[in-house]
Each structure stands twice: as C-alpha cells, then as structure tokens.
C-alpha cells in the first residue's frame, strides 16, 4: 500500500508539473508582477486546460501524500517524493525538448540511488 501511494503521488506530481510547465509556456513569460497584472494572469491561466489538468493532478498528489504520511514515517515520505524528479527530467527532455546536461543526469542518478536506500 505504501509503495502504491508513492507511485500514485510521483505519477500525479509528475503529470501536474509537466502540464503546468506546458500551460505556462503556452501563456508565455510573465514580466509584470504588480498585483493587478498577476490577477489578470491568474484569470487567463485559470481557463487553460493544461493548467486546470495540472491542478487536478496536484490535488491527487497532495491527497496521496496526506494518506502516505498517515501510514508511513515522514522521514520516508518526504525524501521519497523527490523521486518525481526522475520522470520529470525524462519528460522535460522528451516532451518539452529541454536541454539536460550530464550534471543533471548525475543528480538524477544520485536521487535514484538515494530513494532505493530510503526504501
């Protein structure tokens, strides 16, 4: 059950982050950080399908995390959630066409080994 929750949390977190990145790229870079301008940005992105899907996925991730900390130690649940960086980086490379250098892959490798040790 513990690992099923980790799987759901990591999968929904990854989906949420990737959808949010796609949605925000569709919107474009934010230059104006005044409250009124940020309000306009919020109204625009709230109608973006990718952002809405991202919020739904993040809600699933949060509730999975809530259930996970109910049945597993926090010192397990928090660091193991960093495993989402692994699929996120792979999808950033494949879907978002981001440049991922060897240092970032090294970091991902360290996280993967770390998660295995935490398990």
């Amino acid at each position: 059950m513990k690992w099923l929750l980790v799987l759901v949390q990591v999968a929904s977190q990854t989906t949420g982050e990737v959808f949010r990145a796609i949605g925000m790229r569709q919107h474009g870079e934010i230059h104006d950080f005044r409250p009124g301008a940020l309000g306009r940005v919020a109204r625009v992105v709230a109608r973006n399908g990718m952002i809405i899907s991202s919020f739904c996925a993040m809600a699933v991730a949060f509730f999975s995390f809530m259930k996970l900390v109910a049945i597993a130690p926090m010192s397990f649940a928090v660091p193991v959630s960093a495993a989402s960086l692994i699929p996120e980086t792979i999808l950033a490379r494949l879907l978002l066409r981001e440049a991922v250098d060897w240092r970032r892959w090294t970091g991902i490798g360290l996280i993967a080994v770390g998660v295995l040790l935490i398990a």
Partner: protein
Amino acid sequence: MPATSSPATEMVPGVHNDAVRNDAALRSKTRLFAAIVVLTNVAGNSALTKGMKQIGDPGNSPVALIGALFHPWVAVGVALLIAWTASHMALLSWADLSYVLPVTSIAYVLTAFAGRWLLGENISLKRWAGIVLVTAGVTVVGISSPPSTVEGNPG
C-alpha cells in the same frame, strides 16, 4: 531593480552606493525568503504528519481525506504548505532555480531531524545515507539548471 552593480553605475557618483545598498537588500531578502521556504516546508510537513498520525489511516474514502483537512494539526500543516508554495514561487520570481533548489534541499535533512526529534521516528543509518544522497542529487540538479531553457516549445 539591478541585482548587482555594473561598471557603468560604479562610475557615476552617488549611484554606486545605491547599487550596493540595493544589492545588499536583495541578498537579505533572498536569504530571508530561502529561510522561510525551508522552515515552512519542514514545519508544514511535520504538522501535517502529526495530524494524520493522530487521525490514522483514513482508508480510501475521499470524504474522509477531505474531512481530515479540518483536523487542527492538518489545517496548520496545509496553511504552512500554502505559505511554502507562495514563498517558493515568490523566491523563484527573482532568484535563479540553480540557487533555490540546492539551498532549499537542506529541508530533506531537516525533515529527517524533525521526524526523529518531534515525531519520534526511528531512522536507520541506511535511510540517513539515502536522505544525504537525495539532498546531494537535488543539489547537483540545481547547480546544473539554467535560469530557463531557450529552446523547445511544446505548443
């Protein structure tokens, strides 16, 4: 607002001091927000965990999970995690991801200490090693991250 003083500003009398003052203010603000990000993350996760441990396994009912949000410790945890999200987004609006990610990854270690001392969790040597490796990995990822990627457009 310039983050650092440029050679051009240093040559103009009176501007250099302002630039230095602005730089010092920006550094102080960045350190303050980084501390807030780490503390709200650790405190939020600790409060959420404490509340969920008191409630116990809510089962698979979504109603039970939503109901858990009204438990005092869970509510405090959620409020702190909202503050964490807001402060994290604010910090990223002016600071590089490559600074924010490694600096805030210390939260993984502090969370382990909080689990050990506040919640009485037993942490094996193997798990400590894993936490250190995850922290090192997040730091390396952060160091490698450019402020933004110029290529690529997912459409």
